[in-house]
Symmetry: D2
Subunit: 372 residues, 4 copies
Amino acid sequence: MKNTIGRHVCCTIFGESHGSAIGITLDGLPAGIAIDEQFMLEQMNKRKAKGRISTQRHEADLPKIISGVFEGYTTGTPLTILIQNNDQHSSDYEKTKNRLRPAHADYTADVKYLGYQDYRGGGHFSGRITAPLVAAGAIALQILKNQDIHIASHIIKCHTVSDDAFAQSEDQLKAQIQALRSTSFPTIREEAQIAMIKEIEAAAANGDSVGGIIESAVINVPAGIGEPFFDSLESIIAHYLYSIPAVKGVAFGLGFGFSEHTGSEVNDSIAFENNRVITKTNNNGGINGGISNGMPIIIQTCIKPTPSIYKEQDTINKATKQAEKLIIQGRHDPAIIHRACVVVDSVLALAILDCMMERSAVLALQNKRKED
Amino acid sequence: MKNTIGRHVCCTIFGESHGSAIGITLDGLPAGIAIDEQFMLEQMNKRKAKGRISTQRHEADLPKIISGVFEGYTTGTPLTILIQNNDQHSSDYEKTKNRLRPAHADYTADVKYLGYQDYRGGGHFSGRITAPLVAAGAIALQILKNQDIHIASHIIKCHTVSDDAFAQSEDQLKAQIQALRSTSFPTIREEAQIAMIKEIEAAAANGDSVGGIIESAVINVPAGIGEPFFDSLESIIAHYLYSIPAVKGVAFGLGFGFSEHTGSEVNDSIAFENNRVITKTNNNGGINGGISNGMPIIIQTCIKPTPSIYKEQDTINKATKQAEKLIIQGRHDPAIIHRACVVVDSVLALAILDCMMERSAVLALQNKRKED
Amino acid sequence: MKNTIGRHVCCTIFGESHGSAIGITLDGLPAGIAIDEQFMLEQMNKRKAKGRISTQRHEADLPKIISGVFEGYTTGTPLTILIQNNDQHSSDYEKTKNRLRPAHADYTADVKYLGYQDYRGGGHFSGRITAPLVAAGAIALQILKNQDIHIASHIIKCHTVSDDAFAQSEDQLKAQIQALRSTSFPTIREEAQIAMIKEIEAAAANGDSVGGIIESAVINVPAGIGEPFFDSLESIIAHYLYSIPAVKGVAFGLGFGFSEHTGSEVNDSIAFENNRVITKTNNNGGINGGISNGMPIIIQTCIKPTPSIYKEQDTINKATKQAEKLIIQGRHDPAIIHRACVVVDSVLALAILDCMMERSAVLALQNKRKED
Amino acid sequence: MKNTIGRHVCCTIFGESHGSAIGITLDGLPAGIAIDEQFMLEQMNKRKAKGRISTQRHEADLPKIISGVFEGYTTGTPLTILIQNNDQHSSDYEKTKNRLRPAHADYTADVKYLGYQDYRGGGHFSGRITAPLVAAGAIALQILKNQDIHIASHIIKCHTVSDDAFAQSEDQLKAQIQALRSTSFPTIREEAQIAMIKEIEAAAANGDSVGGIIESAVINVPAGIGEPFFDSLESIIAHYLYSIPAVKGVAFGLGFGFSEHTGSEVNDSIAFENNRVITKTNNNGGINGGISNGMPIIIQTCIKPTPSIYKEQDTINKATKQAEKLIIQGRHDPAIIHRACVVVDSVLALAILDCMMERSAVLALQNKRKED
């Protein structure tokens, strides 16, 4: 479905970096959800460029809801959010439009769209297109919050600097999630934040860029969510996450670390505590057999270094096919990982919400448990 | 869509480990594809259990095509493949059916299906359900081969042992892919194979299990495949891969390794060689902006250690909620990673084929390139 | 999705008239539904050929469930039903395979599948492919019956003979639905049945065929089902019905009769009776704005005369492109409308069930009504 | 998918009658289509209210493309069209918001959306929501025109007045389609137009409304389009048409008329003329077995009388559940059938285009015809 995702809350995204507006339509939202515009703005702010560690393009990013909300509540019909583009410097791009930027979508979009794509600022491939996702995610996060489901992400690794992993203890984890809510450079340890910002500033000073790994946690998702065989919870979450530009790795629980252990070391023992089934460890990241098990869902997402750098790079001119040296013009980010955290939270909320609704669809008709 | 995946070649999978048969329906195949049953059997054989490093359940695994093929060619209507189950030992499972096996889907399936799931041998969650996928994948691989597209996987890591990564040189890579075709324990270096088999035997002797990482390469996929925003090539491939039981990590190109580098280190420079656009390195694994760039597509897939181990584990009895010790009965694999390679190849073939057809859908109507 | 339909209970159909077996997979069924095999067989019997008014091909049509049912209950995982083909006379078709049968899919399938289609008995285009639909529909009808939702169809018109329309009074309608359950040539008035059978026999004697109109009623569907804009209840029901071979018209309530009235004549007045909102007439067939209103859903489906007739017809030889006279060999039905009624009931059940589950998906999260 | 339709050119529609704007997103369009804004405006004009036979609400209906078009050509990324609402009289609706309008979606929307729907002017259920469809359809019609495929509709029946049916002769049909292009009250015979307008004016004078039947023709669709079993061309077209508010019947070729004939009377004989396969009659409306046969596709669509009438009607107050008399306030149409013709053309174009792209997806890989 290309630019639409979701079976229940279907998101359709549109717009280009230098067009008049970008936006998103959410179809299938429950009716009667009170829209918290303040929260939406807070989320938008987390994604905004800031200081020396971000691009100097500054957009107001005020999401305007043009349908699907009436007297402050969702109507249940499609909710469309528009965000105007204001601070474009399109001329920055016209000069170099034939020089294909390495590690960008310039070449692939050119092949795919036969040269008709809007190349300015990356067009539909710009990271800017994640802004409507954050506005949409704010609504999904609200709905989940009503069910006491919470999501947070932090930068567990930024180039050479590491942060602590999320706590295993549920109380601690809950406190960490709470603490992460108000920060726009989310780490668990403050020193990690300081060191990471330094790394990014150093990269910026050097005309270079860095990436990293985001760790995310979703708590209180009930057991039973996910639709294997092909719509395992991991499949759905990974599908959503890999739509975020610059994501090159997605893993669950121990993730690639599983390869270093034996089954007896990493199998999560099962216990019954506080009137519910739990696992004593959570190496599987809250998912077994593609279905949530009630434990925190733990996800790692790798963000590659921003491809836009100020250093000279080797490329070709797409018109002449000749080799050329490229120094990228325009304003860009030496790192996007801190801005990406809220985008990750947003798509996780949309993914989890959708999977929960899929579950509800069948539950209404299968309400009697088999006697053992 | 739960047990159906694909927009063009739609796969619907069905069956349980101890039911009468398992199978798959492929809908939307092109008509006129000659079915190479010999190749299908070879692929099935690669997935089969073998020797001390595998389960002692031995199934003939003869795929029978019951529709969609006429006089040796695909008809273009749904092609259904059935595989009989023969060597079930269902009684192994009845005794311990209330003891939830750690890291398995026992608990999550029980919650999801309210106790009605077929628990024997993992039911629909058994690795056995991947057998029809391999039969289906054989057809997809054939169609891609007709387009000179080739896919191969090897075990780049098995517990403590590592193999070489795929070669950067295209000629070497082609030779490696060719060489991997005939092996059922695929590694690039023979010594890696020997050492890995030793690791697995050691785990088996210890009643334990191991996992690892599979590296896959797909060559000659044309540039322009993939449908961002939400159906980036990474999103689609990851969605398919995460449906394979035991997969806990999927990454592209450098994958999580991107977090350790700066943009200037990993941006793939662009050049024009042999009359086509290439990148001098392939850190992005053949995908930029969610669209193939014509370079080899490189994927890493992490397989966790088989959760079935012979060691005693802590769990609960689902009926009584009491803690119990569990020693898993039945026949199982100390490692599945070698058997998983052909499953990974199969789903990659299905995923890539589907994305190529999506591209064809639009190409017919947009056949004139913009003049620059 | 071609051979798959449904968002929640996804049906994937496969098989050819003269292949080894035909079948269907139902994915997404609620777990814990007791399978009533007796009822399934009764439904299959209604579709079976009978007497002089049907084809002389006689198939046992015993549906065999090979997955998704365990100990008598649905498991919630894909349920696959197989039906063996036994009584094929393939040689009837080989002789005339190049002579395109008028009003059949011979020519269109040949173009679409480039000559690779299984032409014997119409292949995948045979009315025989509706047998698995009836087996699947039996399960859907059972689930709906658990919710007190009932479906029945009768032949309101067969060539020159008409039956009464369904009663407006709900009690009478309920009795009519009950009475229709046990008949395999469903009409409301017995004389209509007798006269219609005579018509069919006359057509048969003349080597000709007839069609007609089926009127269907679905009662007790709650108000609120249907997903406009594009998935109006009419859109979904029509989509399902038009997959049945030979259907050429689908209408709701007054249907095409609406064109003969003014708004004031046909607007259904609204009243509050027996503690619920009703309409005093039901010209809209239980659907307003694409959403069920709680009144009986009334549907008309037009079935064209069976295209297979014994009379000589003008056609061409597809190999030579020359005009040829064709007298169709093989066994066929002078009318299928009586056999089609149970097929219509089946797809209606699948359609309504799916729409109800779509509604349930959202209901769980929107449970508080706005205060007026 | 509720408010999204299409597999290739996916349309997502949004907005309410009295919101700030309504719109549509088209995703999956081929790149490089020159946008003919003049043609889009002409199509919009056909849908506009006019004279005494239409509502007095007058909207400029200027579609504004905010994404997916760059330098006059489609980019291949989502194309979003916005249409501002300007001439709302919301207060007309506030006074009577609790009085459920008969034959409208007031009651069903109220149940579905729990009272949160925007009731003003019918909200998302307003016929106004078809305006973006016409803008979108203009683009689809253009793309089809590039393939020499043409679509036209006329009012074959309006209450008591009938028009001629489309001609059987292809040349005549082509001329009729051409002639219908420029009219905003489309009939084949001028006298029919005059008589129909009189009917509508008489209904208007009487505070009443009328409906009718639209006949549509699509010419030059190649044989082979349509995806049975479940996505027969009839299924897809009916699905789209039934999303248009007020449609209560859809039929193909002879449609319900099939019930009055025998097979020998209506089977379309096959011939080979002018180097292509044709049928001598076209009773099947260009579709056999759910697949186009190259003949004109002929569709009948029944539009019920506008439910908004000025006469007093019986209804209830939804808050009090008491019976009340209702005289609908606001501006409304005594007939919408003339305005609906262009909407029908638009959705037909979107449906056919989508089916053609589905066909292209598979064609690229199945390009060799079987030798007979």
